[in-house]
């Protein structure tokens, strides 16, 4: 082949460097560049991104300086202290515990759990869906029966039972318990896209080019459904913040002495708090709303940049 190619093409080793340099100049921008251009073109998304990054960094770092057990000690003297009094920036709750500090530690816990849950359950769900959809046939059949079984289990009830059975649970065990139940939606979605994607000729071309099955799944098909992956992952992240806060709100999430956004919102269970002591629950509620909105906004922009026809940013 080599000789015959050399015979028929004027290009030789000497031209290699010059030609590849020329080609580099004409190259289409990398995907990171495209995402960044897209953010620059969409100001609200930029703001959302800054809010998320700054907030997460602030919470992670500030939480290191807070002594949680000491903060959570009851202090009768400051029972429901109003914001701004006695050095309480956002006031104190019924136990005299500072809301502002609880908010920081709580947000860190909630976001940490949501991130862990998203990483574990999305990774698992995506792999499950890709493999099940690609292999089709017997493997798919078996994997789908496992999926059906998991869907049959009443999720919230199972989590509550597990949390009650396990005596000493903390943020990590809670994340793992959630993860067992939150990969199914993702996997079904990914499977159906993979089914139709595997039919396309580029997959057949990869097979005749000698590429192995798993390489085809993860380096040919996966990039092609990346916009779906991104949207699904960001939406599950926003949703997963809700999962933990929801259960903590019901009293089955994190243990009492560990603050989270959910335990803070649970302050609203008390009618007195709702009407008079708004500072005990309102900041946490607002925080969740802003956070979830920002996340879905960022998700949209990333999806747009993954989809060439919807881009708003300049090409270069």
């Amino acid at each position: 082949m080599e000789e015959s190619l050399n015979r028929h093409s004027k290009i030789s080793a000497a031209d290699l460097e010059r030609l590849s340099k020329e080609a580099k100049g004409e190259a289409t921008p990398s995907s990171a560049r495209i995402v960044w251009n897209e953010f620059k073109a969409d100001k609200p998304a930029m703001v959302a991104l800054v809010i998320i990054v700054a907030f997460i960094l602030f919470v992670m770092i500030a939480a290191l300086f807070i002594d949680t057990p000491k903060m959570m000690e009851t202090d009768i003297m400051n029972y429901n202290a109003a914001p701004g009094t006695n050095g309480f920036i956002l006031g104190a709750d019924t136990g005299g515990r500072p809301i502002f500090q609880q908010l920081i530690v709580g947000a860190r816990n909630s976001i940490g759990i949501a991130m862990g849950l998203t990483v574990i359950s999305s990774t698992f769900g995506i792999c499950w869906g890709l493999i099940s959809g690609y292999f089709n046939g017997l493997i798919d059949w078996g994997m789908q029966r496992v999926y059906d079984f998991m869907m049959m289990l009443p999720m919230t009830m199972m989590i509550i039972v597990l949390v009650t059975i396990i005596k000493n649970y903390n943020a990590i065990t809670l994340t793992l318990i959630f993860s067992v139940f939150y990969w199914e939606g993702t996997s079904r979605l990914i499977r159906s896209r993979t089914l139709s994607e595997s039919e396309k000729d580029y997959v057949a071309a990869a097979k005749t080019s000698g590429t192995g099955n798993f390489k085809i799944i993860f380096s040919e098909i996966m990039p092609n459904i990346s916009s779906l992956l991104i949207v699904d992952t960001t939406l599950s992240f926003a949703e997963n913040i809700g999962v933990e806060t929801g259960l903590s709100y019901l009293g089955f999430g994190l243990p009492m002495h560990t603050p989270s956004l959910g335990t803070l919102i649970a302050n609203a269970n008390d009618p007195n708090n709702i009407t008079q002591y708004w500072w005990t629950w309102l900041p946490a509620a607002l925080l969740i709303i802003i956070l979830c909105l920002s996340i879905s906004y960022v998700g949209q922009v990333v999806r747009r940049s993954a989809d060439a026809s919807q881009r708003q940013g300049a090409a270069d």
Partner: protein, 323 residues
């Protein structure tokens, strides 16, 4: 010995239905076909849409699970996966796909697309791989700046040539070309076809050239098989098929080639209508009671046609009288 020998190949797709999703019937996409492809030749496979051409092509590259029959290459039956593996079969047999856009991964740069078979079969070092890709691009008439672009940045004809570059990258012995030009306009068609002929001469490649267009096939192929509903109805050389067609289906396909000469248009139209008339009247003579083609019978050493013995004999005589 032929390069590839296809014997009694069948590909049936199951149809599942009913409450228990059981197999109740099957689509016989390919229903017992046999032919041989010689080294260095272009073998034409012609038939209307849905006649099973692509399915045949995909079976020959090893993409389709065949129901029964054999495809022999270098003395091994490559319908078995283990044999394809041990022969490094796709190093030698490649495919140009019907739809050039969907056969190029939209997320990959041209360099990675063309280099994919090289990476899997030849394991070159980085520089010689890139050099090879650049040479291939040059041969198919694309500039070096295509290297880092994506498939959607090219025109249909350019994409088809990228598909060709990928197929010839490992210097295969046989390329399945599945309607390589049917999505292109006439001038680009000629360009791609001439180019395929050129690389055939240079690299001594065989083609299995799949098409529904007898005009294009005449330009490309020495031997031709006509396919109808999963079966072969006529096999022969170019001369056999174009000048002495025997099966009514072949005659119909030939009559459907558009006439470019304006002065003969009316005459051509009359002839087409006549063939259509004969087809309607004599259809049951040419097909068995299930509407399927008969087994092939040999007329001359190169020419076979799917007819009952008696009719074949009769037509053969008529042919001799005419000639």
């Amino acid at each position: 010995m032929s390069l590839v020998e296809i014997k009694n190949l069948k590909v049936h797709y199951p149809i599942r239905s009913g409450f228990f999703n059981r197999i109740t019937d099957s689509v016989n996409a390919v229903d017992g076909i046999s032919f041989n492809i010689e080294a260095g030749e272009t073998y034409g496979l012609v038939g209307e849409s849905g006649s099973g051409k692509s399915t045949t092509g995909k079976s020959v590259v090893g993409l389709e699970k065949v129901t029964s029959g054999s495809i022999m290459y270098k003395g091994k039956d490559i319908t078995k996966k283990a044999n394809r593996k041990s022969l490094d079969y796709n190093h030698d047999v490649q495919m140009i796909f019907q739809d050039s856009l969907s056969s190029l991964n939209p997320r990959k740069r041209i360099e990675d697309i063309i280099a994919e078979p090289l990476r899997n079969f030849e394991h070159l070092d980085k520089d010689s791989e890139k050099l090879r890709v650049l040479q291939l691009l040059d041969i198919v008439g694309l500039d070096a700046d295509a290297l880092y672009k994506y498939p959607h940045q090219f025109s249909g004809g350019q994409r088809q040539r990228i598909g060709v570059a990928r197929a010839v990258a490992t210097n295969p012995k046989l390329i399945i070309a599945d309607e390589p030009v049917s999505a292109l306009d006439l001038s680009v068609q000629a360009q791609v076809l001439n180019f395929m002929k050129k690389i055939q001469r240079e690299f001594n490649i065989s083609y299995l050239f799949i098409s529904h267009d007898l005009g294009v096939v005449r330009h490309m192929c020495n031997n031709i098989a006509i396919m109808n509903n999963g079966r072969l109805v006529e096999i022969g050389t170019r001369d056999d098929i174009y000048n002495h067609p025997m099966h009514i289906y072949t005659k119909r396909l030939l009559a459907a080639i558009p006439e470019t000469n304006v002065s003969q248009r009316a005459e051509h139209r009359a002839q087409r209508l006549a063939v259509e008339e004969v087809y309607r009247e004599q259809q049951d003579k040419y097909y068995d009671k299930d509407g399927l083609a008969y087994p092939l019978v040999q007329i001359t050493p190169t020419h076979s046609v799917a007819l009952p013995e008696a009719l074949a004999e009769q037509l053969k005589h008529e042919g001799e009288v005419q000639a």
